[in-house]
Point group: C2
Chain length 278, copies 2
């Protein structure tokens, strides 16, 4: 099985993939979330693993936008919650107090801001396109640089971990999803359903109360709601909902039918067994 | 009046500030949204202008998080919607087809992806911390580089505009907000109110329907809803709402009172005259 993921090698996404793959798989790194999702859409990969939500930073909007947009034949088949433990990774011989530049993805930098201020106040901070890319840059440099990244990336690029767990807040977790073509997405033991809808008209937020009623009247618990712009001008939103229950459970099935009549567009993004929120 | 803004000089935020300042002001650039907001909180600036929402990218989460978090004495007093027109900016003598590297903020790069693929497929793309920082880097380099940024930045750094309006989608707009200390935030002609709430308990999404009812039962129109993580673990959200009407209009005042009884925490972020959604 060919499994795409948000690469390069050594990202937290690859850590999640390895921790949750049912058997050995062929790993295929992609440069962006969108490319990984579209690889499943176009049949270049059998599955993909991408991050969808972080406990500090919120939703991974690239994932939501791809699933609601062009990836109409891709479904979520599993979600996996993983702790995100950031390491400060240097080159062999570099000591923490010698580090003059810290490279990482802006989200990782934001999550370790307090540590950087306290321990590396004089170091310059440089953005990278991923945490793994940052570790690769540090591994390939002769300067006293360090990266914020995963333990897996440190191992892959042969760099020592100068400090582990340098994130400012404990309980930093990311929810990852496994994606499959819709034809392979029949999940018998689904306990959670994700969907996106928009419309009618310009005033979806005002109509939202009616939509939520279709759920609450049937005793269906909503575990997440997120609005995203529809990219057609300010004030036009789409809504992503996660709810408890599989899409074929009678109350959920009835609610989905009722919802479809209320909105302009409704798409089930997946119905799958859930790791649950921590 | 000292007005903080998301700097450096030449950002789209500075363009918005200049377009909406009632009279000449002392402009104070800050490196991050959070620093600009906290400058008002701590009295280092009288006002601040920061972006809060883009029609393509969605909410500016740093702004929402600062307003809902430490900036408890800061209120929104005005919002301003501005078109975002990206320019490809080079050095004098560089022609578009010679450009070998494009530097910009990742959001600007994302918004001009189609243009870059069509016209500059061979150029390397490098992230910068802001569009203005990118223009400054290009101005200071001797290489055939170009930046994506504002016309104001091109003028400030003395660089020619190689192409204007290079964003992939028309109608790219950003909503900016003026912030003031709560003591200065009495706005007589408010037409819009922004608020944030969370709780009770872990299951706020499930309780959301009751909260929205307090608005819809009073005929109050909701123009925006956004969920953000509370940063205490997956599954804990806070909700940002924008609604039509000033906070002292009787139906809005009554709804706010009822809301406060339903939720764990409710904060009015501002009540102000609105530019409206485009």
């Amino acid at each position: 099985m060919r499994v795409g993921f948000l690469g390069p090698a050594g990202t937290f996404t690859e850590e999640a993939l390895r921790a949750s793959a049912p058997s050995p798989v062929e790993e295929m790194p992609y440069a962006t979330v969108r490319e990984a999702v579209m690889a499943v859409q176009h049949g270049h990969a059998d599955r993909a693993v991408v991050p969808i939500e972080n406990s500090l930073e919120g939703s991974v909007t690239a994932t939501l936008d791809a699933l609601a947009g062009d990836a109409g034949d891709v479904r979520i088949v599993l979600d996996v919650v993983r702790p995100i433990i950031h390491c400060l990774i240097g080159r062999t011989g570099t000591r923490l107090e010698q580090v003059r530049r810290v490279v990482s993805h802006p989200q990782a930098i934001a999550q370790c801001e307090g540590f950087l201020r306290a321990r590396l106040a004089a170091a310059e901070v440089t953005p990278a396109t991923s945490t793994a890319e940052a570790v690769r840059a540090v591994a390939g440099s002769a300067e006293p640089w360090a990266a914020l990244g995963s333990r897996l990336a440190a191992a892959l690029y042969g760099c020592p971990v100068l400090a582990e767990g340098v994130e400012d807040r404990p309980g930093n977790e990311t929810r990852f999803v496994w994606l499959a073509p819709v034809a392979d997405a029949r999940v018998p033991d689904a306990t959670k359903t994700s969907l996106v809808f928009w419309g009618p008209g310009d005033r979806t937020p005002g109509a939202l109360v009616g939509v939520l009623h279709e759920l609450s009247d049937r005793g269906i618990n909503l575990t997440k709601i997120e609005s995203r712009p529809r990219r057609v001008g300010l004030g036009h939103y789409m809504f992503f909902l996660d709810l408890d229950g599989g899409e074929h459970d009678p109350p959920v099935a009835a609610a989905l039918e009722a919802l479809a009549r209320r909105v302009e567009s409704l798409r089930v993004l997946g119905s799958y067994p859930s790791a649950g929120a921590a």
